[in-house]
């Protein structure tokens, strides 16, 4: 996978570039126009946890997952980072694991739809 260097010195794979196409990295994933579908972000992931375990526990769990996975704070996690954080949550078992698996399926849905050549546009 080819990578490109961002202005802040970090590198970004083509896959990540597609994921964040048309956005300022950290705001939201791009949208697959055909399905009007946006890839999940860290904020989406924390909100998904909150809907099942409540906002306080959701925030705690997401913070633990980010720390365990070495994910940067804030909403600029890459798909790989989201995958690692949710892997941590899957290992917790129970209802939390089902939320984490759901987030992973949402990531994969976005990636597969984008990869098949659907037109990706910036989220509006």
């Amino acid at each position: 996978v080819r990578a490109r260097r961002l202005r802040n010195g970090e590198t970004q794979s083509e896959e990540e570039a597609l994921y964040y196409q048309g956005t300022s990295r950290g705001e939201a994933g791009a949208t697959v126009a055909s399905h009007a579908y946006r890839g999940p972000t860290a904020t989406d992931s924390e909100a998904a946890l909150a809907r099942v375990v409540g906002p306080e526990r959701g925030a705690e769990l997401w913070a633990e997952a980010c720390q365990a996975a070495g994910v940067r704070a804030g909403n600029d996690a890459t798909p790989d980072e989201l995958q690692r954080a949710t892997d941590f949550l899957v290992a917790q078992g129970g209802a939390v694991a089902t939320v984490a698996r759901a987030i992973q399926i949402r990531i994969r849905t976005y990636e597969r739809l984008a990869a098949r050549g659907a037109t990706a546009q910036g989220a509006s």
Partner: protein, 171 residues
């Protein structure tokens, strides 16, 4: 604003724990569930059969027959596109004869973009009384589903739950 956990059965933590306890988080297909999905599709003469497990924000397929393209690769969809989630909310079978005119699904991308036209799903109810998802069949042309066909699906849904609970050591 009301707490979504109190209003949407899809988000019920007890139901989600049941899904996790039964090892239904996905990743690998179970051979028996694959057979059940194929049998459902073949016996009803439709191209697709699924054992679909509804998580909080997505559905994941524990058994599939006839899927292709991105759906096969993703092995699931966001929950807002899940026809099966309707049964989790009602505990009842969900039938769509013509998806293009059905109020609940006509704007669903799986209908608009992926060609889903008809659907019939029977809830997968665990022995603890919790709806895990649906055994369902999907077609690309509108059609109706008779009582005998729904009975076939109900028998196969029962077999799917037996398999799910058996491999989890409950039976």
């Amino acid at each position: 604003m009301s707490d979504p956990r109190q209003t949407d059965p899809v988000l019920d933590a007890e139901r989600l724990r049941e899904v996790a306890d039964l090892g239904l988080l996905g990743g690998e297909h179970d051979a028996e569930l694959q057979t059940i999905a194929r049998s459902a599709a073949e016996r009803l003469g439709l191209p697709i059969g699924l054992v679909s497990i509804v998580l909080s924000d997505a559905q994941v397929f524990a058994g599939t027959h006839g899927l292709g393209g991105w759906l096969e690769e993703a092995n699931g969809t966001p929950v807002e596109w899940s026809f099966c989630a309707n049964s989790v909310r009602t505990g009842e079978p969900f039938v769509v004869e013509d998806a293009t005119t059905h109020a609940l699904v006509r704007d669903n991308p799986l209908v608009r973009e992926d060609g889903v036209r008809c659907y019939a799903g029977i809830p997968l109810v665990s022995s603890r009384g919790l709806v895990l998802g649906n055994l369902c069949v999907i077609g690309t042309e509108e059609r109706s589903f008779g009582p005998e066909e729904m009975e076939i699906l109900a028998e196969l849904a029962h077999a799917a739950v037996e398999r799910i609970e058996s491999r989890a050591g409950r039976r």
